[in-house]
């Protein structure tokens, strides 16, 4: 993975110093809250319902055991012994003190981490496919480009006071595991006819109040133009994005209001001015960064591992785990292993300091010291030998981390909601907990198969409900929590926005409603291989609507 050199280390340390100075000025009254707020946000520090919240960047979701251990230590010493992994591959601490944050940032800097740009109207932490570097189907490791984008966008002098936040995601394969079409800029690695590497570029996707699917500005952008093209997009956005209304300030609204062609022309015109300047990416530089992400040297292992097969035959639990939580690896005898942070009845994405330490240990012992955070709020070991899986599973299970539910209904995404978030209208975590309890039977879940359930506590859609196969949005109706259900959303290469089925459900009815939808699907699916989303795409929403609201 990427390692800091002297420059990176100094860079981050200077920023810690700078923030320390800002906190001091705030406490002395030299900065008002209005002035301090954007500065603390630039360092990931929010004020939430109960306390401050610090969001730490995990660039493109990649970290090692030492870093994970440091996060656990911070959770224990400065927080309440746990932390929350987010849908943007970051981690959040829910209870830090303002006066402690400079110290926390120092601790982070000691393991090459920071909280820069995890908030505020700037270019946020760039996200990438969590199986990057391991997946069978990728053109190249997208993290190389995510790292280049991270460097270029770090405290960009021109683009730190944008109309609104700006999110970039990048995926390495045709199968999109980074939801690129619902980002401000979505990049999908590809190749042109001459075998040169480049990107399909989407702009103006996003969720929130006005969900939109990104428009394709370019089918092929050569890799050396990556930064120039992004700079052109950002400049057009910074100058022309709406600043009169916070809810219309994202680039998706600009793209929507100006029209795809106008935006393309403006971006291309700006690109011509920027192109071949400072930002042209030298091939050597791409190669140099690429070397950091070189995969471990894989052993020549047999395709199937007899001991592993035997262990599966013996243990139902292990077999279930293998069925759901392993992803095909490009090297024979290896796999990418998902650690679910969705135990039945738990808060999605939460991990205790002890669990984080177990993960760190396992990564060092069995996974070439590489850990990923997925946007589905789980942890991934990208490179694991199949023969080690039984032991890893055993240790995970003993620590409440062995849930064999990756991609199943209880592997839901949920934002913090009204239990923590100052912007929320309704709670999300309890809904996720109740649903996972209702569907606790693993047998039933496996029978239902792939189903992405996503829950947000308000229209900001941090829980990505618009792109859930089943999405749940919490709203506030006259002081009561009410939950609106959508179905048919999807965030892969066939991105679609879910449709609202009808009136919302009160908190004590929403789980029944979800169960009704699932039962309806089980009744009408063509066969066991047809997943929920495929059935929906085949039959439309009518049967689901009828099941929920009757035919009247």
């Amino acid at each position: 993975m990427y390692r800091y050199d002297e420059f990176d280390q100094d860079f981050v340390e200077q920023r810690v110093e700078q923030f320390k100075n800002q906190v001091e000025r705030r406490l002395k009254g030299e900065l008002s809250e209005d002035e301090f707020k954007p500065l603390r946000l630039m360092n990931g520090l929010y004020l939430q319902l109960h306390a401050y919240m610090l969001r730490v960047a995990i660039p493109y979701g990649t970290l090692n055991g030492k870093q994970m251990r440091k996060l656990a230590e911070i959770a224990r010493s400065y927080d309440r012994g746990y932390a929350h992994f987010t849908t943007r591959q970051n981690i959040q601490f829910n209870w830090p003190k303002l006066s402690d944050t400079p110290k926390i940032l120092e601790e982070l800097a000691s393991v090459e981490m920071h909280a820069i740009q995890t908030s505020g109207n700037c270019i946020r932490n760039v996200t990438a496919d969590h199986f990057a570097g391991a997946a069978e189907d990728e053109y190249a490791d997208p993290r190389v480009y995510a790292e280049i984008l991270r460097q270029w966008s770090s405290l960009h002098p021109e683009f730190t006071f944008l109309p609104r936040k700006f999110k970039i995601a990048i995926t390495g394969a045709d199968h999109d595991r980074a939801a690129v079409q619902v980002h401000d800029i979505g990049l999908q690695l590809n190749q042109n006819e001459d075998g040169e590497r480049g990107f399909r570029v989407f702009v103006g996707g996003g969720l929130g109040r006005t969900p939109m699917i990104g428009r394709k500005l370019r089918e092929f952008l050569p890799e050396q133009d990556l930064l120039s093209y992004c700079e052109a997009i950002l400049r057009v956005y910074n100058l022309h994005g709406r600043r009169d209304n916070k809810y219309k300030a994202r680039i998706k609204i600009l793209v929507h209001e100006s029209g795809e062609d106008t935006i393309r022309n403006e971006v291309e015109a700006e690109f011509l001015k920027v192109k071949n300047g400072f930002l042209n990416l030298p091939l050597e530089e791409i190669e140099r960064i690429n070397a950091y992400f070189a995969p471990p040297v894989f052993e020549d292992l047999p395709e199937t591992e007899s001991a592993f097969e035997a262990a599966k035959a013996e243990s139902r639990e292990l077999a279930n785990f293998a069925k759901r939580n392993l992803n095909p690896h490009k090297a024979k005898g290896y796999t990418s292993l998902t650690i679910s942070l969705k135990p039945i009845g738990g808060a999605p994405g939460d991990a205790t300091a002890e669990q984080m330490e177990v993960i760190a240990d396992l990564a060092e012992r069995f996974a070439y010291d590489e850990i990923r955070v997925s946007h589905e709020q789980n942890i991934v070991f990208p490179h694991v030998e199949l023969r080690d899986v039984p032991l890893i599973f055993k240790i995970l299970a003993a620590n409440g981390l062995g849930e064999a539910n990756a991609g199943l209904i209880s592997d839901s995404i949920a934002c913090p909601g009204l239990d923590y978030c100052a912007l929320a209208n309704a709670r999300s975590i309890p809904v996720a907990q109740e649903i996972s309890e209702r569907f606790a039977s693993l047998e039933r879940q496996h029978d239902i198969g792939d189903l992405k359930l996503k829950i947000s506590g308000c229209i900001n859609a941090c829980g990505h409900h618009h792109v859930g196969h089943i999405g749940i949005l919490g709203v506030d109706r006259k002081g009561e929590e009410l939950y609106q259900i959508t179905i048919g959303g999807s965030a892969d290469e066939n991105t679609s926005i879910g449709k609202i089925l009808g009136r919302g459900f009160p908190a004590d009815k929403v789980v029944d409603a979800v169960e009704t939808l699932v039962d309806t699907y089980l009744d009408i699916r063509a066969n066991k291989a047809e997943a929920f989303i495929d059935t929906y795409r085949r039959v439309g929403d009518a049967p689901f609507k009828e099941a929920l609201y009757g035919s009247g």
Partner: protein, 172 residues
Amino acid sequence: MASTVFKNGQVTEEEWVTVSPDEPLPAGKAIVVSFTDFLADAKRFLESSSKIGVALAPADDAKELEPYLNGLSLVAVDFPQFTDGRGFSSARVLREQLGFEGEIRATGAFILDQVSMLKRCGVDSFAPSNEVVLRGLLEGSGMEVTLYSQPSISPSEQAVKGRPWLRRETAA
């Protein structure tokens, strides 16, 4: 415009006077007019014996000044609110794309922590509306940062070996 300006490491008295277009133009002075007023009658201003500056509001398109830049000594980029970052792009467009060599001044409600970013976008003088910012500029506080991951037009910086876009500031 504010009465004090921070430039080249010190505070100087303001030499620029703001005029409205209906008044006769003073001769041999330094006068600033708004972008709209200037474009409405650019020729008149450029023919004056005074030095001419243009005040740019966030929505004004700096590119429209292109034909007149040779005749301008100052462009004042205004920040009515520090959160409105359009001025950063305007300054950079003026310096990098249009090659403007005169003074680019940031005016208004920008904050201390934006100063180094403004410099990197080509701004070389500062007329903040807030006293505290001016004091901070004089004391040099908030200037801890000397490393950047983007190149800029700023002359006081050096490239970092190895990576083409990194910069280290060499002088204050």
